[in-house]
């Protein structure tokens, strides 16, 4: 197994506010990793750094041996917390758009997933509900044959049935060459599909562990552990 992602001594400062400090962690290929932490703990900042949207203040990030840039964008599929798509576009147009952009995009897979979730490809984004828009975005992101998927709150806005479908998509899309990093507050929903967790707290890594080790050693679920560690 090779290291797909390595973050060392990573810090990010916004003016006087330190969003992340001294982050060290790595992800092997073939893992599904949960990035968990309370609001404002730095989850989105970390994901943006890995995707190359932000530049670290100090420290380094290597994705498959490359610093974030053109080489890594080809192999990283990123789901942002907010939509960046034009809302006058129809679902089928956006599929064409992604096909032009990414060599690893599988348009047939995207159309198939739209059909499974009963989304009409002729609908404009503008006419879709918030949850449906999120589903469309996730379909686009998961239809790439990427090496690293960065999913920022992929299940936050959708109903429980669609949540199951999305998690199932992540499982069935699994490949030993690729890894998934997903951030969420909905730990109980995702913990069955995770290999490892990274707890972020005030911009620092509070804990990294394999989820079955937590259950074995502590006799409790990841959700219960989270509530204990981050008790308000």
């Amino acid at each position: 197994m090779s290291m797909l992602l390595q973050c060392s001594g990573l810090s990010k400062r916004f003016g006087s506010k330190e969003a992340l400090s001294g982050i060290n962690f790595s992800v092997e290929s073939g893992r599904i990793v949960g990035l968990l932490g309370p609001n404002g703990s730095g989850k989105t900042t970390l994901i943006k750094l890995i995707s190359g949207l932000l530049v670290p203040t100090t420290g380094s990030i290597l994705v498959d041996g490359h610093a974030p840039g053109m080489d890594t964008k080809k192999i990283v599929s990123y789901l942002p917390e907010r939509t960046y798509l034009n809302d006058w576009m129809r679902a089928r147009d956006i599929i064409g758009f992604f096909q032009d952009f990414y060599a690893d995009f599988d348009a047939a897979k995207a159309r198939d997933m739209l059909a499974r979730l009963q989304i009409d490809p002729a609908d404009r984004l503008k006419s879709m509900s918030k949850g449906t828009k999120e589903k469309v975005q996730l379909i686009l992101v998961m239809s790439r044959n990427a090496r690293l998927y960065l999913l920022d709150e992929p299940i936050g806005g959708v109903d429980p049935a669609a949540r199951d479908y999305i998690l199932n998509t992540i499982i069935t899309n699994y490949s030993p060459d690729a890894s998934v990093i997903l951030s969420t507050h909905l730990i109980a929903d995702v913990e069955k599909v995770l290999d490892d967790i990274v707890f972020l707290s005030n911009g620092q890594v509070a804990m990294t562990a394999a989820v079955d080790d937590i259950r074995e050693n502590q006799g409790k679920s990841v959700d219960a552990l989270f509530r204990e560690v981050f008790q308000c």
Binding site: I32, N168, I171, Y174, E191, L194, S221
Partner: protein, 123 residues
């Protein structure tokens, strides 16, 4: 049978227990082919690595074996399956006595109560 998984216990152990029960109960007959890791993981809604670990454990228990090119099969060794089944039965009975002891019943009391229940059921 639906996959009921408790998040407080290691998932792979629960997968081992679930599949083991399906083998001893004959849901997966001896010598039959097990679905792929991906399909099983999808069905149970768990991580494929976790399912892989569970199947490895079942191989170690000699309930499964891998045919290098064509996948995983249930053992054809029916004696091994019978032995595992009996071990599970003993475990159930042992657990039952432990529970009854907590209620303050000795083994003799248990036999009497069981007879009463069986006779009661006949009426």
């Amino acid at each position: 049978m639906a996959w009921v998984l408790n998040p407080d216990r290691p998932i792979y152990l629960q997968l081992v227990e679930h599949i083991r029960l399906q083998i001893v109960s004959g849901h997966y007959p001896p010598g039959s082919r097990l679905p792929s890791v991906r399909d099983l993981a999808g069905e149970a809604a768990v991580n494929p690595n976790t399912m892989q670990k569970a199947l490895g454990e079942l191989e170690r228990l000699e309930l499964l074996y891998t045919q290098r090119t064509s996948g995983r099969y249930i053992t054809e060794d029916v004696q091994r399956i019978a032995q595992v089944k009996q071990d599970l039965a003993y475990q159930q009975i042992h657990d039952f006595f432990v529970q009854m002891e907590r209620l303050g019943y000795g083994k003799d009391d248990c036999f009497r109560l069981m007879e009463a229940v069986i006779e009661g059921g006949k009426q």
